[in-house]
């Protein structure tokens, strides 16, 4: 399953720098996406001219630091923010504007879902895990009784949660287990696209590996497409096929993840790469781009 990430031998030209998967129809296409906050002199541009495509079943990484616009981009994709300009096409249909009617909202929910960074605030602290999953299953598929229970157990199994954990409150679970719940809740809607917004960043390293493996399994089994947002280049390498690098709201580089990380073309991508601690690392030795 890592075959798609193998480094391409051929040299890349600028025109080849695209994240479009060969031959596949994109499940997600974003064109000229722009988001500004405030008006007049106070206007701040959060996202500016972002375009990319994600092939069905593919995994796209969005790399960037704070203020890069990667989270705002995610919020526009799931309909929590309305783009100022540009277009969002999900599974062939235009979804640029957030849905207003509850029916459209739910339909979009069955198309695209999100997992957030903090496993502690991602769950209602008073709701049992099973109820949390059940609420979503009932909402989308109207199941009840034993059919609902069976589906909830199935979702639990998918992410490695046992019955005992389904009966627990979030505070009785570890961070990694809670993140499994958040993933199960997102998958409960059976979406075609899953956005993972720094979804493993807050986890301990040993747990991070478990969740990354779990996500790889789910993608393989279910064919869900991922948009994986992270500041962690090693995680991006492990979980994505293509990647875009964002800075100050713009895309500075995009291409196959292996190419972007192995031979970064943009100075900022190079700086990002060199800033990661490694053997023989001298902090701050790189050209300083001071804020």
């Amino acid at each position: 399953m890592s075959s798609t990430a193998g480094r391409r031998a051929d040299a890349r030209t600028d025109s080849e720098r695209t994240t479009a998967a060969p031959g596949g129809v994109p499940i997600l296409a974003v064109d000229g996406l722009r988001k500004t906050f405030g008006r007049g002199r106070k206007e701040a541009v959060a996202v500016d001219g972002v375009s990319f495509e994600l092939a069905a079943g593919g995994s796209l990484g969005i790399v960037g630091e704070s203020g890069s616009g990667k989270t705002t981009t995610a919020r526009m994709l799931i309909g929590l923010e309305q783009p100022t300009a540009g277009r969002i096409v999900l599974d062939g249909a235009d979804h640029t504007r957030p849905a207003r009617r509850i029916r459209d909202l739910r339909a979009r929910g069955r198309l695209i879902q999100i997992v957030f960074q903090d496993p502690y605030t991602s769950l209602d602290r008073r709701q049992k895990i099973g109820d949390c999953l059940g609420e979503v299953v009932r909402l989308h598929f109207g199941l009840s009784g034993s059919a609902l229970d069976a589906r909830v157990r199935e979702l639990g199994e998918l992410v490695g949660l046992h019955d005992r954990q389904l009966r627990a409150l979030p505070r009785e679970l570890s961070g990694g287990q809670r993140q499994r719940v958040a993933i199960a809740r997102a998958l409960a809607a059976e979406p075609k696209i899953l956005i993972l917004d720094e979804a493993v960043s807050a986890l301990d390293v040993s747990i991070q590996a478990q969740i990354l493996n779990l996500l790889a399994d789910i993608r393989e089994q279910r064919g869900v497409s991922y948009v994986f947002i992270s500041h962690d280049l090693a995680v991006i390498r492990q979980i994505t096929d293509t990647a875009i690098v964002m800075r100050h709201g713009r895309v500075v580089e995009q291409g196959q993840t292996a190419d972007v990380l192995d031979s970064p073309q943009d100075p900022y991508t190079r700086l990002l790469r060199d800033s990661v601690p490694h053997a023989g690392w001298r902090p701050g030795a790189d050209a300083l781009v001071t804020s």
């Binding site: 399953m1 890592s2 990430a5 630091e65 704070s66 490695g160 570890s174 961070g175 990694g176 287990q177 301990d204 390293v205 040993s206 747990i207 991070q208 590996a209 478990q210 990354l212 493996n213 790889a216 500041h231 280049l233 090693a234 995680v235 390498r237 492990q238 979980i239 292996a258 990380l261 192995d262 700086l271 990002l272 790469r273 060199d274 800033s275 990661v276 601690p277 490694h278 053997a279 023989g280 690392w281 001298r282 902090p283 701050g284 030795a285 790189d286 300083l288 781009v289 001071t290 804020s291």
Partner: protein, 338 residues
């Protein structure tokens, strides 16, 4: 010459819901002036608790045993003025979240000059001049302007540098850095670490550097202590940690991290989750998650023993397994226990 900081057999118990729970077990290390020691571990490993014990910031009701000696004096016995002097002159602490440790309604200038004006009775003008110098030391060259700003007007990286500048004001001999770059962007982390390293060299300060990032510790610390479930499991020179780990946990932790250079079909995850000292069964705390564990490992807590020159491990098979810890497992152990 005796060490600047000497921690010996430190154990800490905290009262939780009416009973005492062990959070630190038999922690011992020493730190010389100018040296950096990394404390690495996951949640519950006790790395932050170790630092809090040294700064005497343990929650009320904590029971401590063992000793902490700073410059020949017992830190655990400090009270009143002596404790205040220790905290305000000898030791400085840099935290993960600088914003939580600044007053949002007070200007940077007030924050930086308060100590000088109150403790040192330095006149305002003079204190501000020195504050500008301190900011220059941490790479902030428009100090006059920054002094008049509020914390929310500064980025996380800039604010962390202000915190470092503040801790320099008293020229401490020991810096306790508790995940000082975890909340920062990687490029900012690199800058902040560079500043810390330079200042440490110039001032000859000792630093205890807490992090969950093994790579970062290996890159910036002279020696590294790896902690698990409230106890030290390994202690050796940072330069050898990556190629020659002495404890299965350190090795597993390194292997579990994905790499920038390559994608692997499957990450060798460590099964189960990190535990706290009070949750661990008898025997080696890591045994339930360890692919090298034997029955004997579960019988009694192994001692923290010398393996070689300046090398210590809490694994009873440390010598036998040396050199094999980084060899990939044949069967993914994770599948069995997940």
């Amino acid at each position: 010459m005796s060490a600047l900081l000497e921690v010996d057999g430190l154990s800490v118990e905290l009262p939780v819901a009416g009973e005492y729970r062990t959070v630190l077990q038999d922690v011992s290390f020493s730190l010389d002036a100018g040296q950096t020691l990394g404390l690495v571990g996951e949640s519950g490993s006790g790395k932050s608790m170790t630092v809090r014990s040294i700064a005497q910031l343990l929650p009320p009701g904590a029971r401590t045993s063992g000793s902490i000696t700073f410059d020949g004096a017992s830190v655990l016995d400090l009270r009143g003025d002596a404790l205040r002097k220790f905290r305000s002159r000898d030791v400085s602490m840099i935290f993960q979240d600088p914003r939580a440790h600044t007053n949002p309604v007070r200007r940077i200038g007030d924050f930086l000059t308060e100590a000088m004006r109150v403790n040192g009775r330095v006149p305002r003008r003079e204190a501000e001049r020195r504050a500008v110098e301190l900011l220059a030391e941490v790479g902030i060259h428009d100090g006059e302007r920054r002094l008049r700003q509020y914390p929310h007007e500064l980025s996380g990286g800039l604010l962390q540098r202000v915190m470092i500048a503040a801790s320099l004001a008293v020229k401490p001999r020991l810096i306790l850095a508790d995940e000082p770059t975890t909340a920062l962007d990687v490029t900012t982390q690199s800058e902040v670490m560079a500043i810390l390293a330079r200042l440490q060299r110039e001032y000859g300060m000792a630093m205890l550097f807490i992090t969950h990032d093994l790579e970062l510790a290996a890159a910036v610390c002279d020696e590294t202590v790896v902690m698990y479930a409230g106890a030290m499991v390994e202690h050796q020179a940072s330069s050898r940690l990556h190629t020659d780990p002495l404890h299965p946990y350190s090795a597993a932790l390194m292997q579990a991290r994905p790499e920038i250079e390559r994608r692997v079909p499957r990450l060798p995850a460590i099964p189960g989750h990190p535990t706290s000292a009070f949750e661990t069964p008898d025997g080696c705390a890591f045994a339930p998650r360890c692919r090298f564990a034997e029955d004997a490992c579960r019988a009694a807590l192994p001692a923290f023993e010398r393996v070689g020159d300046g090398e210590y491990s809490r694994c009873r098979r440390a010598e036998e397994l040396r050199g094999q810890l980084l060899v990939p497992a044949v069967v993914s152990h994770e599948e069995v226990v997940r």
